[in-house]
């Protein structure tokens, strides 16, 4: 039947069908790029942000929680405004900003929602909620920001903010994306992996207008978000709040440690700021203001500020001297003011007297014996060997290196080595007379307030310390804190040598810091004065209490407040009383500290 031209027609039909099926085979079976494009079209990946972990203090008082805020979202295609100025008044936004946000939304997508006004607070949302129905194309998305029930510990807790480009690059696990919030400082930063939880992902089907049309594969590929883990801080919130009150109007640091565990009870960087200002919509503005403040509230003094240790270092010198067998309780030196200046006290003094009276010439002479052991006939060589040996002993006190607190940005301080002096003076061109100021904690020596508080803990513990840390338990489990915080660090000084030291520290208060003395609690302390070439000296005091079975070791720095016996010792004493007794029995001392006039 199919002959001639009818055959041609029939063959043409078959041929065309063959071509079409061939083309269909190419795009349907051999090329899977269309499948991927189809998925990109219709499957929207929606990230479910987890609830960030909370932070409690050591007594389970809440320090950080999540507060809902509201982002006003707009779908440009559906949104129109008749009375722009009424809208601006209502939502308290400038017209220019509104237009800018709306244009940005339009550029992103005509049909997908974009934020129009970000982070409206609960209170403000309550006010505008009822007006929202008047506007088409607007809806509200709830997010949460960090909030703090009591304004305290801002520099310790840190803050969160949008991840920056360099952090994104460093994120090898590819967990973060642009716009994610991460901890940027303090505990929020260090414990970011625990606090953040895990993001969940939902795959939604959307139609061409971006409208949701149900779950992809019935949600089989979806993952739920896992909330962040709660942390228990070592901080005592009441003590922290009280300490911040005492440090009002001052610059400086307070660090209090529980000696037998290394747990930080209080850490203050003054001036303090309210942590609530670095959350929510005003973050950028407030951050700029803090950044420009000449008192540098964002500079976390306890771990970043470095000062010469001053007289307090004499205790470390005494301990090293005893351990080396150079000093005993009976070793006496004359208070020879020709060597280095001193204040009036009986002379000669033994070791107890030297600590009690903070005798400079005593340590000048004792330190010479520690350094120059006559192991080499060359004085220069002998000094070099002696200094490096001594330095080894000092480093064991947690000085000269970062302690390794659970916070980023800690400074190491510095304890000079022979290389440093070789660099400064040239090899073989310096000897004891060049470096003697180290004997009294001056010279090329720097210590952070945290290291200073740790020294107080070592004196209280009679020779060991636990690395100071801020977190006691992760998700209720104390064994999950880093191993290093549960490891005892030995100084290599026999416990017996600390008896004399503790007695001398307790006795010293009667001479140098009588204000710190309490009736019920025996306190051992040492004043110091960090010399400040730029102005008034800094007032420094370390202490621990009770002297028998110490529960708290503390270091207080008050900048430009002069002699350590006034500002720093008074503040430390009040904090010890607050922590151990729970209340203050000396309102006049409290008033003296709050008034803050220490230079007279």
């Amino acid at each position: 039947m199919y002959t001639g031209r009818s055959m041609v027609v029939a063959v043409s039909i078959g041929l065309i069908a063959f071509v079409l099926l061939g083309k269909l085979f190419l795009i349907q079976v051999t090329d899977d790029s269309y499948l991927r494009k189809a998925e990109r079209n219709a499957i929207q990946r929606v990230v479910d942000h987890p609830y960030r972990g909370l932070v409690y203090d050591r007594n389970n008082s809440l320090m950080v929680f999540n507060d809902p805020v509201f982002d006003l979202m707009v779908i440009p295609r559906e949104f129109s405004l008749e009375d722009t100025s009424r809208f601006c008044d209502l939502f308290d936004i400038e017209k220019e900003k509104l237009i800018e946000a709306f244009n940005a939304a339009k550029n992103y997508s005509w049909v997908k929602p974009s934020p129009l006004i970000k982070q409206i607070s609960k209170e403000e949302f309550g006010r505008v909620q009822d007006f929202l129905i008047d506007y088409r194309g607007l809806f509200v998305m709830t997010r949460s920001v960090r909030a703090y029930p009591r304004s305290a510990a801002s520099s310790t807790l840190g803050y969160i903010g949008e991840i920056n480009a360099s952090q994104l690059n460093r994120d090898s696990s590819q967990y973060y994306v642009q716009g994610d919030y991460v901890g940027l400082s303090g505990i929020e930063d260090y414990y970011e992996p625990e606090l953040r939880g895990r993001k969940g992902v939902k795959y939604k089907l959307v139609n061409v207008r971006g409208i949701e049309k149900g779950a992809f594969k019935n949600g089989d590929l979806d993952t739920l978000s896992v909330p962040g883990e709660n942390l228990q801080a070592t901080i005592d919130l009441n003590l922290q709040v009280y300490g911040e009150k005492l440090m009002q109007g001052k610059r400086g640091s307070v660090v209090a440690i529980e000696p037998e565990t290394g747990e930080i009870l209080t850490m203050i960087s003054a001036p303090v700021y309210d942590p609530n200002i670095l959350t929510g919509a005003k973050f950028g503005e407030n951050y700029q203001a803090l950044n420009k403040d000449p008192d540098k509230p964002l500079f976390n003094r306890p771990i970043m500020a470095m000062y010469p240790p001053g007289s307090i270092f004499k205790i470390v010198q005494s301990l090293i001297g005893m351990q080396e067998g150079i000093l005993t309780a009976k070793t006496t030196f004359p208070c020879n003011r020709a060597l280095v200046n001193c204040h009036n006290h009986p002379t000669p003094v033994n070791l107890f007297g030297a600590i009690r009276n903070s005798c400079n010439p005593y340590y000048h002479q004792a330190f010479r014996q520690v350094i120059n052991r006559e192991v080499s006939s060359n004085t220069y060589k002998d000094t070099q060997i002696g200094l490096d040996q001594w330095r080894e002993s000092v480093l064991k006190f947690g000085l000269g290196n970062r302690l390794g607190i659970d916070m980023h940005g800690e400074k190491s301080g510095s304890i000079p080595s022979s290389e440093l002096y070789d660099r400064i003076y040239g090899e073989g061109r310096w000897k004891y007379s060049t470096i003697y100021s180290l004997s009294i904690g001056q010279g090329e020596m720097l210590v952070t307030p945290l290291q200073m508080a740790n020294l107080a803990a070592i004196f209280a513990n009679k020779g060991y310390y636990y690395t100071p840390h801020l977190i006691k338990a992760i998700d209720g489990d104390p064994s999950r804190i880093p191993e290093k915080f549960r490891t005892k660090n030995e100084t290599g000084i026999d416990a017996a040598h600390f008896e004399l030291i503790q007695d001398a520290m307790a006795a010293a208060l009667y001479g140098t810091a009588a204000r710190a003395i309490m009736e019920d609690i025996e306190i051992a302390g040492k004043t110091g004065t960090a010399q400040n070439p730029a102005g008034e000296d800094h007032s420094v005091f370390i202490a621990f209490a009770p002297k028998e079975d110490p529960k708290i070791a503390i270091a207080v720095y008050v900048e430009n407040a002069g002699w350590g016996g006034r500002a720093a010792a008074s503040t430390a004493s009040l904090l010890i009383e607050k922590y151990l007794a729970g209340s203050i029995s000396r309102p006049e001392l409290e008033e003296y500290v709050l008034k803050g006039e220490f230079i007279y």
Partner: protein, 411 residues
């Protein structure tokens, strides 16, 4: 058999229309008259009514009425630009209550009948130039009127009558010439660097000279052909540049879908994504995300093939195209067994129209042909197209059923 294939195709079309408008969150029954699948069911029902009418009517009616129907529809076409309803810039529709009809769809079978009537005379000879002109005149009149609406896609459909004319003895050289022209046009547009094109023509001419009998006459003829090809290629580029931008883009999109992916390229890009994502076996009925969520425009009418391609994959496409090919080959068989020229000519008109619609529509959805708004026979949603294809096909089936009688009475 043809009737069985017809109902199979209409049924597959219907469930695909449902899939195209299906919305999980607002699931409605396939019979719901508020959605297009429900409405299509009404069209199918009325189409069955039409079939019954055609089958019970006197078979001589079509022969006798052919010229009258043709003249009637030409007059209606003439009037449409004035009384029609304007949709998408075209005045191509008549409103009848909630339904709309497109007269141009029905002119197809009227023209087919008129051609059959004209050419049934045994003295009609397509090798005669005047007879060729007569046949072309019958085709050209409605084409000219449809171009006025303007509806290029539907107008193009009338070129399918050349399949019938070919069968009935139109000289072969016209077809060779036309196909060469089409081939040359494709190459001209495909090769953007004109120098390659001109070089290619040059090589072709040289080859032709080498294989031809070397007479001066032949060589001169081949050289003339070369010059004509060059001139055509040059002028085609020129003409394409003078086309309105939207038509220019529709052509360019074939060669480079990224010309305008969100504008003119959107239809083709999305259509290819929908079909291409179907894979070998498809995503399953009602599981096609691209068509269900409206990524493909016009997915229940001209782009209905996307739904099938996405949800039933290549195997589904194979089955569907096979059904069409079977139907067409069956129709060729039926046409060849007719005893009268009228029935055979009409049969070939039906074959041509169905073949043209079917191949151009699918070629368009997979990006082998520019986007022209012509429906997929029996599949696409819409009363006008379903009715017109049903009438078209069943008149032929009616004629076939009476082929013995027609012979007995007419001759």
């Amino acid at each position: 058999m043809a009737i069985g294939l017809y109902f199979a195709l209409v049924f597959i079309g219907w469930i695909n229309i449902y899939a195209a408008v299906y919305d999980e969150q607002n699931a409605t029954s396939i019979f719901d008259f508020s959605i297009n699948s429900g409405k299509q069911l009404i069209w199918i029902g009325t189409a069955i009514l039409l079939i019954t009418l055609i089958m019970v009517a006197d078979y001589r009616l079509f022969q006798n009425l052919s010229m009258i129907l043709y003249i009637l529809f030409v007059i209606i076409l003439l009037l449409t630009p004035f009384i029609g309803k304007e949709i998408n810039g075209q005045r191509a529709w008549f409103e009848l209550g909630i339904f709309r009809l497109q007269p141009a769809e029905f002119t197809k079978f009227a023209t087919a009948l008129a051609l059959a009537k004209l050419m049934e005379n045994p003295t009609f000879d397509l090798s005669k130039f005047t007879h060729q002109l007569k046949a072309l005149g019958i085709i050209a009149l409605p084409v000219a009127l449809i171009m006025l609406q303007p509806d290029t896609g539907t107008a193009m459909v009338y070129s399918s009558f050349f399949i019938m004319l070919y069968r009935e003895g139109m000289p072969q050289k016209y077809y060779v010439f036309a196909l060469s022209l089409v081939g040359l046009s494709i190459f001209t547009l495909l090769i953007t660097n004109n120098w390659y094109l001109y070089g290619g023509i040059g090589v072709l001419i040289l080859l032709l000279i080498l294989i031809s009998k070397k007479s001066w006459k032949n060589i001169a003829g081949i050289l003339l052909l070369g010059i004509l090809m060059l001139a055509y290629a040059y002028s085609l580029d020129f003409v394409v540049e003078k086309l309105p931008p939207h038509q220019q883009n529709r052509i360019m999109v074939l060669f480079d879908p990224d010309v305008d992916p969100l504008g003119v390229g959107w239809n083709v890009t999305q259509s290819k994504i929908a079909i291409g994502s179907g894979g070998l076996f498809g995503k399953g009925y009602l599981e096609g995300t691209q068509t269900k969520f409206d990524f493909v425009p016009e997915q229940h009418t001209d782009f209905i093939f996307c739904t099938l391609g996405e949800e039933f994959g290549w195997v589904g496409s194979l089955i569907m195209i096979s059904l069409f090919v079977l139907l067409l080959l069956r129709l060729v068989f039926l046409a060849e067994r007719q005893k009268t020229r009228f029935s055979r000519i009409y049969g070939y008109c039906v074959i041509g129209l169905l073949f043209f619609h079917f191949s151009i529509n699918i070629a368009m959805t997979v990006g082998l042909f520019p986007v022209v708004g012509i429906p997929l026979p029996f599949f696409s949603y819409g009363g006008s197209s379903l009715w017109s294809f049903t009438i078209l096909l069943f008149i032929f089936i009616k004629l076939d059923a009476h082929r013995i009688q027609i012979l007995g009475r007419s001759y």
